[in-house]
């Protein structure tokens, strides 16, 4: 057998771009209006799969941050005084409009981010709508949430989100903030500002009062100005651990409430009695979903020594069937890396892995000529001292380590500064519970991986951050408790 994909060639099945109309330029969204930046600065956002310029976007400076915070402050008075049932209805409206426009938003997200349409269509967008729907229902039930009889909002929330799940991270931030009566100023990532700007239009369609949601595209300095603004009461950040620490220092000594969702180096532990085929699917999903640009990725595979050869053989065979290419093609499994900068970082870490003595393997895989691409990559002979076993790569790179006993697996899994996610594969129920109990991680997937739900709290231990997003737990971050 040559391989499956050559026996059954797939004809391209591209999703149509015509469902989305991207304007040549976008402004900042402040107090219900699109406006230019005070200093007139703009930046280009490109499609990482083709390097085509999609649009030119206003870049918010500190003056714009101040204007947006003022708008949010002004809106807070009325918004927080609305009956919860009215706030709920705005959020239900938003959830429904997202569902209505979900094909458009999926294509937009795929264009701006580079991830496969299969993922934006089947994962990102359904979760975005579900998140708004879930928190909408909380808005008039807060006194039953276990945070006292009269839980109060904090005020203006400054929120900074990453580029890996642009609209989903926006939903995780904005839905609970609005449900609890806060107003928000949100900064999307500089490489993926478009879906947040489309969301501004959804707020318009939903009739959301002016100033309740403000969107400020920009770079790190915009985020820093937002976080440091003295009239912000709440800071929520999802991104790198290094920036998270900087933000924690910035808010030290203030009364700002802080939640951080940061990096990870998740261990996916496969025991000798695991269902191999399912485990292989879980491993692939764990590290190649969204090109591995996922904070909770299962980037360290810990496999029991006795089944290492069998598992690796299956895994390599499976990787050979992954299709990398046009993210708008519905057949595509692996899309583009989000930016040239991220590609350079992944490449450098992979090279370091080789230099430090780990063995590198990738399936035969043709990379498109333009755009940013990285073939699915697997490293064996990895030790815990290797950089690729310690640092978050945030790319489609899997480090394989082995263990002999459950104790050793737990020790290795916990041997990291991070503590966001982990996976366990075994048919033995008591072993799942024993290992899950010992893992220092906020989310443990057993016999599955990378499952998300608005009702399920998500967040890290240790340097993966603090606070939870999702579920009843997610309300606490936005309430004065």
């Amino acid at each position: 057998m040559n391989n499956v994909s050559s026996a059954f060639e797939y004809a391209p099945a591209p999703e149509s771009r015509s469902v989305v109309d991207i304007a040549p330029s976008y402004g900042l969204f402040i107090d219900g209006e699109f406006t230019e930046a005070a200093d007139g600065k703009v930046f280009k956002t490109i499609s990482p799969s083709t390097e085509e310029v999609l649009s030119e976007v206003a870049q918010a400076g500190s003056e714009d941050v101040d204007r947006a915070v003022k708008a949010a402050r002004k809106a807070f008075e009325k918004w927080s005084a609305l009956p919860g049932s009215e706030r709920a209805k705005y959020l239900f409206r938003i959830a429904r409009i997202i569902q209505e426009r979900s094909r458009e938003l999926a294509v937009l997200e795929t264009l701006d981010n580079g991830k496969p349409i299969k993922e934006t269509r089947d994962a990102d967008l359904p979760l975005v709508a579900a998140h708004f729907f879930y928190y909408a229902g909380w808005a008039d039930k807060l006194e039953h949430a276990g945070f006292g009889r009269n839980p109060r909002p904090l005020g203006v929330a400054g929120q900074v989100i990453p580029w890996n799940f642009p609209l989903l991270m926006l939903a995780w931030k904005i839905a609970p903030a609005l449900a609890t009566g806060n107003t928000v100023v949100l900064k999307p990532a500089e490489t993926t500002p478009l879906s947040a700007l489309f969301f501004a239009d959804i707020c318009r369609q939903a009739g959301l009062p002016k100033g309740v949601v403000n969107i400020l595209p920009g770079y790190g300095d915009t985020g820093a100005a937002l976080v440091a603004h003295p009239d912000v009461n709440k800071v929520a950040f999802t991104g790198s651990t290094a920036v998270g620490k900087e933000i924690a220092r910035t808010v030290a000594g203030t009364r700002k409430k802080l939640t951080l969702e940061l990096g990870g180096k998740g261990a996916n532990i496969v025991f000798d009695d695991a269902p191999i085929d399912q485990a292989v699917e879980g491993i692939v999903n764990g590290i190649f979903f969204n090109q591995g640009q996922v904070c909770c990725a299962g980037s360290r595979l810990l496999v029991q020594e006795s089944i290492q050869d069998e598992l690796l053989e299956s895994l390599k065979r499976r990787l050979s069937t992954l299709r990398l290419g046009d993210p708008l093609d519905k057949n595509t499994d692996i899309g583009a890396i989000n930016s040239a900068e991220q590609l350079a970082r992944i490449s450098a870490l992979a090279e370091q892995g080789q230099a430090e003595g780990a063995e590198r393997w990738s399936p035969a895989c043709e990379l498109p000529e333009s755009g940013y691409w990285f073939a699915p990559t697997l490293f064996t002979n990895v030790t815990q001292a290797h950089t690729i076993a310690r640092d978050e790569i945030f790319g489609p790179v899997l480090s394989v380590l082995t263990f002999r006993t459950p104790d050793e697996a737990v020790a290795k899994a916990n041997n990291t500064q991070y503590g966001l996610s982990a996976g366990i594969w075994t048919e033995k129920g008591s072993r799942i519970l024993a290992v899950a109990n010992k893992l220092r991680a906020g989310v443990v997937w057993s016999n599955t991986f990378n499952k998300f739900d608005p009702t399920s709290p998500f967040g890290g231990y240790k340097e993966s951050g603090f606070g939870r997003e999702g579920g009843r737990h997610g309300l606490e971050a936005y309430l004065d408790v």
């Binding site: 030290a252 000594g253 016999n447 009702t455 399920s456 709290p457 231990y461």
Partner: protein
């Protein structure tokens, strides 16, 4: 005759020592500082802990964490209740120490000690209830079992309140250990003696060595290395003034410690659960539920 003997008898002073890893060491630095009552009369020479003492206490707290966090909640509740029992037996001693430390009348000091004993009882009852209050099953949209449970953050540094040297101290330490964390506690700088005596109570209350470690000395000197320590998971800044609290919070950011900022508290009031939840992580575990089709369970 016997009366006269008592009058002549010289009382035996106690050498106040630190409580670290279940033992009572002096400061490794050999330093002590003078502790006086509210009128300036000498009470004792308390150990003036060093950075090294702080680091040793973290090692002891880390070593104790596995067994204490792994103990059943029922067991932890019984141990905390045992602390209340032991304190009740030494009530008179603590009334005297608190009266001297805080310049209170005997009756006011007695009210403080009674409230402190009751606080242990209150938290003893929480150990096996907090998980049900803050955790639970999540109704995810798919065939998955999904459960969130609270787990202790790990080693918690506690800057105990400066004014309320006993009730305040217990009000910040008990919630930390009730949920399975271990603690390194910096006693009130000016009034450390009730805290150091509490160590003697803990040592005889089935609290495993290292679960609570008590240091006395200059708050800023001991707190700085704890806030910066890479193996400390959280810090309660209750007894830090504004300037120190900010410095410590900045240092704590280096390994993203959970930080509980200082806030005005009336320690006589029944607490809420905020001090319990401040040092808890939430772990969410997923598993497919499969189905009972002809082929049996599947995922």
């Amino acid at each position: 005759m016997s009366e006269k003997t008592e009058q002549q008898r010289l009382t035996v002073f106690k050498t106040y020592k630190l409580y670290v890893g279940g033992k009572f060491p002096r400061s490794e630095s050999g330093r002590v500082y003078e502790v006086t009552d509210s009128k300036g009369n000498w009470l004792a020479n308390a150990p003036q802990s060093s950075r090294k003492d702080a680091r040793d206490a973290v090692v002891a707290a880390r070593k104790a964490f596995g067994a204490w966090s792994g103990a059943t909640a029922y067991n932890r509740g019984q141990v905390l209740y045992r602390v209340a029992e032991m304190l009740e037996g030494r009530r008179e001693q603590f009334v005297r120490e608190v009266a001297e430390a805080e310049g209170l009348s005997k009756s006011k000091a007695a009210a403080v000690v009674d409230a402190t004993i009751d606080r242990w009882v209150w938290y003893a009852g929480w150990t096996d209830k907090i998980s049900q209050v803050v955790g639970g099953a999540n109704p995810v949209a798919g065939p998955y079992f999904n459960l969130s449970s609270p787990e202790p953050s790990g080693v918690v540094a506690v800057v105990a309140p400066q004014e309320s040297s006993f009730l305040g101290l217990v009000s910040v330490v008990a919630p930390v250990i009730a949920t399975g964390n271990t603690a390194v506690v910096i006693a009130s700088e000016k009034a450390p003696l009730p805290a150091l005596s509490l160590g003697e109570v803990l040592a005889t209350s089935d609290v495993p060595g290292g679960v609570v470690n008590v240091l006395s000395g200059r708050t800023a000197e001991i707190a700085a290395p704890l806030a910066a320590h890479q193996d400390v998971n959280a810090i309660d800044l209750a007894g830090a003034d504004e300037g120190l609290a900010k410095e410590l919070e900045i240092a704590a950011a280096d390994n993203l410690k959970r930080v509980l900022r200082p806030q005005p508290v009336d320690y006589f009031e029944t607490p809420g659960i905020e001090r319990l939840t401040a040092f808890l992580e939430t772990k969410t575990v997923w598993h497919p539920t499969g189905s009972l089709g002809a082929s049996g369970s599947s995922y």
